[in-house]
């Protein structure tokens, strides 16, 4: 491995961590959404600093080409994040639906109260 690719690995991991932490700091990301990206960034940084760890891990799991382990883990993280997003999208849609119903029901109730109030005032004015 050349020095350049060694540095590239570390810099890439640091960029990921930097972006995620900065987003967290600016309330651009919530903790529960950031957790997977933080985990991925930390693992990438560890492997970037100690590349031999990857070979050892690959050997442990019986993966011949260590890079394939990286791909496998990356896909696993992306999959989990996608599932989490789909789930939260569904939840948001159902919350939006409930809110829309509540708004419509209150709107109608206000209109009916206004009508009966106007009628009550009218009868008081001209009994």
């Amino acid at each position: 491995m050349s020095v350049a690719s060694y540095i590239l690995g570390i810099v890439a991991a640091l960029i990921v961590l930097g972006v995620v932490i900065e987003s967290l700091r600016r309330h651009h990301l919530r903790e529960r959404h950031a957790i997977w990206w933080l985990a991925a960034g930390v693992i990438a940084l560890i492997i970037g600093v100690f590349p031999n760890l990857l070979g050892a891990l690959a050997g442990l799991f019986g993966v011949t080409v260590p890079t394939n382990l990286v791909f496998f883990l990356s896909i696993a993280v992306l999959f989990l994040v996608s599932i989490q997003h789909s789930g939260e999208l569904t939840e948001l849609e159902s919350e939006t639906r409930t809110l829309a119903e509540a708004v419509a029901l209150q709107d109608l109730r206000i209109k009916q109260l206004e009508t009966s109030l106007a009628e009550a005032l009218e009868t008081r004015r001209n009994p």
Binding site: T96, R97, A100, E101, V103, A104, L105, D107, L108, R109, Q112, L113, T115, S116, E119
Partner: protein, 257 residues
């Protein structure tokens, strides 16, 4: 409120989901009032961009305006919630495009004494509504499976013309699916698995004002696939137990002028 006990029709709310139906909705509302005297009519304006709400109001219906389009199932759940809040016992869903003949309303209400959910079936011998070819076969397969699940003979499970009794109204105000085919297929499964009784009565159906039913085999296959998906999802979901509505506390009707 009233000295005399209100009739079944007076305890019934007609709910009409309407999305951009300004041309038809007024006439349908007037026809409902003419054929079913004493009934209350709620048009759920499902985020229409046209004058649907104004037309419905002019015809004498109460209008619930959803700020965004939720689809038929979404509009119906809002209608069920309104029925619960206003103290109606029964809800009848009628399409706002005039496809359902309001003369069927009385027949549906009559069966609510004995069943929780009554479907108005289009192919049961009354009227001249017909669907042929692959789409018809798809509907038949679906009806066969749903007949098994609901333990009653159903021939038209995708009918939107249906009546719900008090138990069904309480259930659907909380759980009424909004996905495609959820309002017809999945809602039937939810009802059956919650222990509600289901039946069907033959009703006359008019052909839709615009467009003809498709006979395209590809579309029929897609339709069956989506229906199968809706059915599968409905069956793997946990059973819902009906919580009995609290007696008389929530039912404070808002009386409009």
């Amino acid at each position: 409120m009233m000295g005399v006990m209100p009739t079944a029709l007076e305890r019934t709310l007609i709910v009409m989901p309407a999305f951009n139906e300004e041309e038809a909705v007024g006439a349908v509302v007037r026809e409902v009032f003419a054929t079913a005297p004493g009934v209350a009519c709620l048009v759920v304006d499902d985020g229409s961009l046209d004058a649907t709400a104004r037309e419905a109001e002019a015809a004498g219906a109460t209008v619930l305006r959803l700020p965004i389009n939720l689809g038929v199932g979404g509009a119906m759940r809002a209608g069920f919630k309104y029925a619960v809040a206003s103290g109606y016992s029964n809800v009848i869903q009628v399409d706002s495009d005039g496809q359902h003949d309001p003369r069927g309303i009385e027949e549906l209400v009559a069966q609510l004494g004995r069943y929780d959910l009554v479907l108005g079936a289009r192919f049961a011998g009354v009227g001249d509504y017909a669907v042929r070819g692959p789409r018809r076969w798809a509907m038949q397969v679906l009806s066969g499976i749903l007949s098994k699940i609901t333990k009653t003979k159903l021939t038209d499970t995708t009918s939107g013309f249906r009546a719900s009794g008090p138990r069904a109204v309480a259930l659907f105000a909380q759980h009424y699916p909004s996905e495609y085919l959820g309002d017809t297929v999945e809602s039937l499964v939810i009802a059956a698995r919650s222990g509600l009784t289901v039946t069907q009565v033959p009703v006359a159906m008019r052909p839709r004002a615009g467009g003809v039913p498709s006979h395209n085999p590809y579309k029929a296959a897609v339709y069956l696939g989506r229906a199968g998906m809706a059915l599968f999802v409905a069956l793997i979901r946990p059973r819902i137990t009906i919580s009995e509505p609290p007696a008389s506390t929530a039912a404070i009707p808002v009386v409009s002028g």
